[in-house]
């Protein structure tokens, strides 16, 4: 009998080294993309179920001698550019500087990708299409017809439309969305907006995700929004109320820190973290701890400060301190297991081996099968 475990160990070590280099854990935008693909997969499965049910019903009708004519409309198709190059789902289309590319769909709808735009037709159905705009601007002329379903997905935002002319631009770097409706109406959903925000003729919606600001203006089309307007330069309140909200959307960040509830501040911090505004996230979290001491939210803020220090700055000693604070304040909190696991990881990365081992022993005693049990076991051994 030979011993295979040494071979297994050697293979594992080599693979793990390779994975650590190549397969980084997902970023926030990766997670958003995964969540979006899950939703698309679900829709497709539902469509398949509907098709199967349709086939079964058809067979039953035929058995009863009823002549059923299938008039299921065909899936739309599209061509790219002025030539006749047939477009394909999920193929990225990129325009260069000074170049615009039209997409013409079989129902008469047309889209025009502006220069320096990257987009793809994510899904084609019989009633419309879903277009993912990674960055840049597109102009759409959707042919109005019954049941038409078109959408443009720009970052975390979705613009739904039934028949209209509109323009969407998404600046991925600055995370700024702009939707202008020339005719008809659209509904926009996504962060900062409350529910589905309807836009009518000649309305322009501008949302800045990092600034957590939304504004709608009426009138003629204007140029794309200037870089993240400052609170001082904010237009009149009437034109800048957050859609669907009674609060002014352009209240300064400092005002928000003073006026928001603990829960709102945590959400604000979360949004700031997700959009890469680490400093603002930190401000919001410190504000929770100052304004709502000894609350559950204060504990969560401590934990989140630890996560931010660990993940974004690699400040392991600081992170360990925040996780310890959380555990001291919320020893039986819902994040206690995660906090202890993260703490031992942070302490280990900070080079405090003896302390990490003692935390690992405590972790294994409390959570022998917890998510950090492997790291803990490695430290103990």
């Amino acid at each position: 009998m030979t011993n295979l475990s040494s071979l297994g160990g050697a293979v594992r070590a080599t693979l793990d080294r390779a994975r650590a280099v190549r397969l980084a854990a997902p970023s926030a935008s990766d997670i958003r993309e995964l969540v979006a693909s899950a939703a698309t997969a679900k829709r497709k499965r539902k469509a398949r179920i509907v098709q199967v049910v349709g086939v079964v019903s058809l067979a039953a009708a035929a058995a009863l001698g009823v002549l059923v004519t299938s008039n299921r409309p065909e899936q739309l198709s599209f061509v790219v550019g002025n030539g006749a190059q047939t477009g394909e789902e999920n193929h990225w289309i990129r325009t260069r500087q000074g170049e615009s590319i039209p997409l013409t769909f079989s129902d008469g709808t047309s889209l025009k990708l502006a220069p320096q735009t990257r987009a793809r037709v994510a899904e084609l159905t019989s009633s419309g299409a879903s277009v993912a705009l990674e960055t840049g601007r597109l102009e759409a002329h959707v042919l109005p017809r019954r049941g038409a379903a078109w959408s443009v997905i720009a970052g975390p935002y979705t613009v739904r439309v039934t028949g209209t002319e509109f323009r969407v631009s998404w600046e991925a770097d600055r995370e700024v969305l702009e939707v202008y409706v020339a005719h008809g109406s659209v509904a926009v959903t996504g962060p900062v907006l409350t529910g589905a925000q309807s836009l009518g003729k000649n309305q322009l919606l501008t949302v800045s995700l990092p600034e957590r600001r939304a504004a709608i203006s009426d009138g003629t089309e204007t140029t794309p929004p200037a870089p993240a307007p400052s609170a001082e330069a904010a237009p009149s309140e009437a034109s800048t109320r957050a859609p669907g909200s009674s609060q002014p959307a352009r209240a300064s960040f400092e005002q928000l820190l003073q006026s928001s509830s603990a829960e709102e501040l945590l959400k604000l911090a979360d949004g700031a973290r997700m959009s890469g505004q680490a400093a603002r996230a930190k401000q919001a979290l410190h504000s929770v701890r100052q304004r709502f001491p000894r609350s559950r939210a204060a504990g969560i803020a401590a934990y989140t400060l630890g996560v931010t220090a660990f993940d974004q700055r690699g400040a392991y000693a600081e992170a360990a301190g925040w996780f310890e604070t959380y555990l001291r304040e919320e020893p039986a909190g819902s994040l206690a297991r995660e906090a202890l696991g993260r703490q031992l990881e942070a302490v280990d990365k900070a080079g405090q081996r003896a302390r990490a081992t003692s935390l690992a022993e405590r972790y294994l005693k409390l959570y022998p099968a917890g998510p950090h049990h492997k790291i803990a076991r490695r430290l103990v051994e």
Partner: protein, 206 residues
């Protein structure tokens, strides 16, 4: 997949759940926060399992994502608690890997000259003997029936305990025990024909 996370490093949404039960309920209800938390908690584990089952495979990253897309889509039917969640996601991963292995094997059967799975390419740490051992080990594993290959990779490379292997493979413990015995025997006889693998196996003998 990983793009440039703002400010560098990993960025996650912090899911604010009162407890794990609320997290699982959110997952079943298709809440984006819960789905993001699922990825945050188990991405690395699933990636590790798939890597250890498939070896250095160029499709690893896509497959890992696919596992989470399937998990999110199928969460509604998840009946366990947070304690079973890891095994459930890993199980989806194992079944996805099995599907990939079978598709490739079927393809090779019809197109005997079909190229081997694309290698993921060299890594920064060039450990030639280690990389060669990995390549040859998976070349041998590739000759095993898919179920035996998966069970053996999980036991040997992932060091997954036997009851867990049974759980993620969806079979009883006695079945997995028999499957592993057969797999070991087959692997040993095939690896014995390869001088490098033979030497590595002999090194581990007491």
């Amino acid at each position: 997949m990983p793009d440039a996370a703002p400010a560098g490093g990993k960025l996650y949404a912090l899911a604010l759940f009162r407890d794990d039960a609320e997290f699982v309920a959110g997952l079943r209800a298709g809440q984006a926060d819960a789905q993001a938390e699922l990825v945050r908690r188990y991405y690395e584990r699933v990636a590790a399992v798939l890597h250890r089952v498939l070896g250095d495979d160029a499709e690893l990253q896509d497959l890992t994502q696919e596992v989470f897309v399937k998990a999110m889509a199928g969460a509604k039917s998840f009946r366990g608690t947070s304690e079973n969640l890891e095994a459930w996601v890993v199980r989806i991963g194992v079944f996805s890997a099995r599907g990939l292995i079978r598709r490739r094997s079927l393809w090779r059967r019809f197109f005997s000259s079909a190229p081997a799975p694309e290698d993921a390419g060299p890594t920064h740490a060039v450990d030639h003997e280690g990389l060669e051992a990995v390549r040859r080990t998976y070349a041998v594993l590739d000759k095993l029936p898919s179920d035996e290959r998966i069970a053996l990779a999980l036991a040997l490379v992932d060091e997954m305990p036997l009851p867990t292997i049974a759980e993620v493979c969806g079979v009883s413990r006695s079945t997995i025990k028999r499957r592993l015995q057969r797999a070991r025997k087959r692997f040993e006889s095939l690896a014995g024909l390869d001088p490098l693998l033979r030497e590595l196996i002999m090194r581990g003998e007491p």
